[in-house]
Symmetry: none
Subunit: 199 residues, 4 copies
């Protein structure tokens, strides 16, 4: 990589991290392109050399941050000793929930913008071109058990976790995260059971 390319990379990263800071602090609507550029110590016009508009940089951020969450969770899982499919799925959920509960601004930012399409395409670095869905499929395969409608199963788990934790973390309402977790994980076990094929 040439020196120029390095410089460009640095500028892009400065814009991304400035945008992330401002989006999570003040919300996307209250952040202008001038804000982002000046916070990155770049000129306004420079922004347009790297991104089309505010929504372009937002989408890049969601993907990046989503990646990070799952990478962390995946790495932690590999260091753990969990075995059953249920334990592994819950481990990942729990890990991501804990990451988010420590950065409520990130949670707000992500969950407002996380659609299934985005989610299922998040790619995991270090696992050759694998995405979230692939990780889950792998877990299922390793368990040796059989499931119908794997997509729907994962979809239901992800949506349930995402929406209930959002409320619990941001508003602590109607229950706190700590109150929620036991029953949330119990429900995850029910959902997995519900989709298992037992001959």
């Amino acid at each position: 990589m040439s020196k120029l390319d390095e410089k460009k990379k640095l500028k892009q990263e400065a814009l991304l991290s400035s945008a992330f800071k401002l989006f999570t602090e003040k919300g996307i609507n209250n952040t202008s392109i001038a804000d982002i550029a000046s916070s990155a110590k770049l000129a306004k016009g420079t922004f347009y050399l790297y991104f089309k508009d505010k929504y372009d940089i937002r989408d890049r951020l969601i993907t990046n941050q989503g990646n990070r969450l799952f990478e962390n969770a995946n790495k932690a899982l590999l260091n753990s000793e969990y075995n059953t499919l249920e334990d592994c799925v819950i481990f990942i959920a729990d890990n991501i929930i804990d990451q988010l509960s420590e950065h409520p601004a990130l949670l707000k930012f992500i969950s407002k913008n996380l659609s299934w399409a985005v989610f299922s395409n998040i790619r995991i670095a270090g696992r050759d071109n694998m995405n979230c869905m692939d990780i889950f499929e792998e877990l299922i395969d390793k368990s040796g058990r059989k499931f119908r409608e794997k997509n729907m199963m994962i979809f239901m788990i992800v949506e349930l976790v995402n929406s209930t934790c959002h409320s619990a973390i941001i508003y602590k309402s109607p229950v706190t995260l700590e109150e929620l977790k036991p029953d949330l994980y119990k429900t995850i076990r029910h959902i997995i059971e519900q989709f298992e094929i037992t001959d």
Copy 2:
């Protein structure tokens, strides 16, 4: 009601329905107050006689539309012959899902803005000052069964239904509504079971 009051009522309704149309068509961010007023064939200043700002009219719309959904579902339930708690809860969910699937714009609008705080305060017309939570509590009481953490139980059901149906209706992804429903309802039964206290 005087003639003047009638006229005022009409104008407010014109503003509400214009706002709803524009919010669902173009999104709140791309709708200006001038748009709403002119679409209601009123002067810009008139808007401010009835609402504080865009977010005031949005909140009024959410409450109004939320009310309507639950009122319809509740009325239909009273005309049905369902008995068990599970059947009743699923009947309401199903009814609301069907209403929303026929108005995806309403679904988009509502579910982007529906927090638990808003939800649990939606009031049902015709049932003396009762809100959604009261309706559910009533169903539970009538069943004669005992549950721990009723709030959390309802919360999990509502969030699961809301988030999965949003995706299924708007994006038909990863499954269509018709594919989702059977498993969604099965999961609802699991959740209810999970919270029941059996001595």
Copy 3:
């Protein structure tokens, strides 16, 4: 005066005193006609039955308040035992200064809007159609002394008092009122002396 006329009088007075309160509290520019009307507990349209616009009511207020200041000063002078022209003029100045220093808002309001034309036409109630200038002329006549350019003499005194006290009362800068007074009155004596004709 008919009952109706009394009611009208009351409404006009309510408007005047509301306007005065608001003008002195928030300034004329930040006071709207709606403010005045609602503070007087009258409808907006009613304002226009009594005054042409904001500046109409302002001018009425200046005259009214100016009258009051001079009436009070004049009444107090009649109860005093001062004899020489200098003592009388200074007594009036001092009296008005003290009135104003107790109502800085009134001072601000008056002195921003007090031109010589307005000043010299302020009428004193209870003295048959006499104005400020007449009062001063009377004092001069009673003294039995002779002056050239009486108008200019009074003009210089009034302007000097008005402008220096404005600064002293509102900003206490560059000197306070108490520091200013002795020298101010000494200068008034000099001015009177300067215009006296001594054969």
Copy 4:
């Protein structure tokens, strides 16, 4: 200075002179930022690149114009042969009065907005960081005479000149400028005398 900086300077000056023209012609209240910008043949947004708001540009104008008045007077004094303190002070007053009487609009603008705080901070170009007060102090020092309360003395002179000339120039009432001057200057001499300390 680069070409760009020159262009910016020109634009700022265009805004200043447009604002001055409009403020003096129509008053500040009746001048909008759009007026100023379009009169300077610039876009409305450009105004905000150079000034915060209407009052920012007003304050800049007062300082600029005030500077000019005193600079001119000071330069003329240096070319004159006046010696005594009284003659010098009256020379400056007379010079400024003449400047103002030729630009009544400037007089209106300045004297409505000239507070003691503003006045005493006006800086004189070409005299290393000196302001009006410094000039007067210098004159006093050079005279070798002793005065008590120099601040108050100058304050009284400035306020008297400002307020009487305002009326004389703008309204020619109750006397014209030419009628006023002799007595005004006589009063200035009295004031100076009044503050002198004679052992």
